[in-house]
């Protein structure tokens, strides 16, 4: 028989602590579309997405109703578009993806992407240069570019180009507070099965389709830690592990069920703690619950390291296949605690960079002054990619130059993307550094074979 307190605990997590399944993401290979030829490629992409994803939203809603657990997003990730681009117009494909996403009713579609960690091919460069236009001409398309990896080093030509692309995307979407930049991620060590946006794409080793599920639940962890106030970190880590286990088991259940009902293979559960701007759904507040007056002060990196590790340890036993990014997310604009910490100056770009050494992502959803030049944006990307490359982990940069705004002002995106206080960047030029181009060689510990 079920235990009364177990049932009530689960329902309390859902209703009061904002426990939810953040996303069911259908990973879809677009390689079968290639036979259509360049001229018919956009239509072939549209048709394939509509056919394979036609039941995704309905099944998601059914699972939501049957289990009483909110599933916030239904999404699609596709093969990096640069791989199928030969001879075709990239923006036409972005528009086809956008139309298809709207036709099947998903929240976002990711995969307008290029993997250029060693070098840029012609199609890669064509796609990258088209990103600002593609993101401004569409609503639901998300884009990502992998510019480095532990095995290949950092492609500094691509890093330089991405500074320009981000700047142009911000200028083109200045009327929507730079929204195009919120849909663009620059990665090092990108993962091929990430269900979270904006960085989701369906890697080439993934088969034709996969159901990947991203769980969430910072509010549940914060609440659990309230019960162990003042106790040693061993106790804190145990409590987080227990909570992560429960959250992930629910993700595993939903992933299996979605896979069964859609008759598509189960891929992975991504056991990330993904915050939202809603009160009580903040990763920063978990760190503060550990005893920090504000997120961003000294001690924050250690607190985040513990959190990230305990989440993985708790979650890994709860799922048969853990993948994606799996850890704690620290997107500034999407986390009410981070927003408050950035507003009062406790949280700086430098501290965030340090935090990305110990968590699952990178500099995420950060607004920088509108006059930040492209070489500074590239230098921010290079720093972050270096952390990823050397530490053998995924790092990412999703920064939004706030066109016409400076420190003290804010960008407002609304919804899950929240609002971003503009954070100061270091003065001084990195122009000559970025202009060098070429590749930063892979670190010695990449030679594992």
């Amino acid at each position: 028989m079920l235990n009364l307190s177990d049932v009530l605990q689960t329902n309390k997590m859902i209703s009061e602590q904002k426990l939810d399944i953040r996303t069911i993401t259908l990973g879809l290979s677009l390689l079968p579309c290639l036979s259509a030829g360049p001229a018919s490629l956009p239509q072939a992409v549209y048709d394939r997405i509509c056919k394979k994803a036609e039941n995704l939203v309905r099944v998601g809603e059914e699972i939501e109703a049957d289990y009483g657990i909110p599933i916030v997003n239904k999404r699609i990730s596709v093969t990096p578009v640069s791989l199928i681009l030969e001879g075709a117009d990239p923006v036409a494909i972005a528009k086809a993806m956008d139309r298809a996403a709207k036709a099947v009713g998903v929240n976002f579609i990711g995969g307008y992407s290029a993997l250029v960690h060693k070098r840029m091919g012609l199609c890669d460069e064509k796609l990258i240069r088209s990103i600002p236009e593609a993101l401004c001409e569409t609503e639901l398309v998300c884009s990502s570019v992998n510019v480095g990896s532990t095995r290949a080093g950092i492609n500094m030509d691509a890093v330089a180009l991405m500074g320009k692309v981000i700047r142009e995307a911000a200028l083109r979407s200045r009327d929507s507070d730079g929204l195009a930049c919120a849909k663009l991620v620059v990665f090092c060590n990108a993962v091929e099965d990430n269900p979270f946006m904006a960085g989701a794409f369906h890697g080439v080793g993934e088969g034709d389709e996969a159901i990947n599920v991203g769980v969430s639940g910072p509010g549940v962890v914060a609440q659990a830690l309230k019960a162990v106030r003042g106790q040693p970190f061993d106790v804190v880590a145990e409590e987080i592990k227990r909570t992560a286990f429960k959250i992930t088991r629910m993700g595993q259940l939903v992933a299996r069920e979605a896979s069964r009902r859609l008759d598509l293979p189960f891929g992975i559960v991504d056991l990330s703690l993904a915050p939202t701007p809603a009160m009580g759904d903040s990763v920063a507040h978990i760190l503060e619950e550990m005893g920090l007056e504000r997120c961003g002060i000294h001690g924050t990196t250690a607190a985040l390291a513990l959190l990230n590790d305990a989440v993985k340890k708790g979650g890994v036993m709860a799922s048969s296949h853990v993948g994606g990014l799996s850890g704690a997310f620290i997107p500034v604009s999407e986390d009410i605690g981070m927003i408050e910490a950035a507003r009062c100056g406790a949280l700086t770009l430098d501290k965030l960079e340090a935090m990305t050494c110990v968590c699952s992502v990178g500099l995420d959803m950060i607004a920088v002054p509108g006059d930040t030049d492209e070489s500074t944006l590239s230098a921010i990307i290079a720093d972050e990619a270096a952390i990823g490359m050397v530490n053998n982990k995924t790092t990412a940069v999703r920064v939004i130059p706030a066109v016409g705004k400076g420190v003290g002002e804010e960008l407002v995106f609304g919804g899950l993307l929240g609002q971003a206080p503009v954070m100061p960047v270091h003065k001084g030029s990195a122009k000559d550094f970025i202009a060098r181009g070429g590749r930063i060689p892979a670190p010695i510990h990449s030679l594992k074979n």
């Binding site: 028989m1 079920l2 009530l8 605990q9 689960t10 289990y67 657990i69």
Partner: protein
Amino acid sequence: MKAVITVLGKDRTGIIAHVSSLLYEENVNILDISQTIMGGMFTMIMLVELSDQGSHFAQVRERLMALAESMHMEIRMQHSDIFDAMHRV
């Protein structure tokens, strides 16, 4: 399929009677009931068995929602797997 019905709200007469007669009308078998008063609030969970058709689940849930509204209670019906998944290793 098995489902868990949770009923929460201010204690009053006839709560169990209303819920169980609705279930009787819908041919839903009650397997177990656990009920208590927590902090002055009526709290009940029921483990029930109903036919495997998804439409039956949806119909019963809809009627329970209507009952919840008329009685000013909070009623949920969920697939029991979610609790097993979260609380059993």
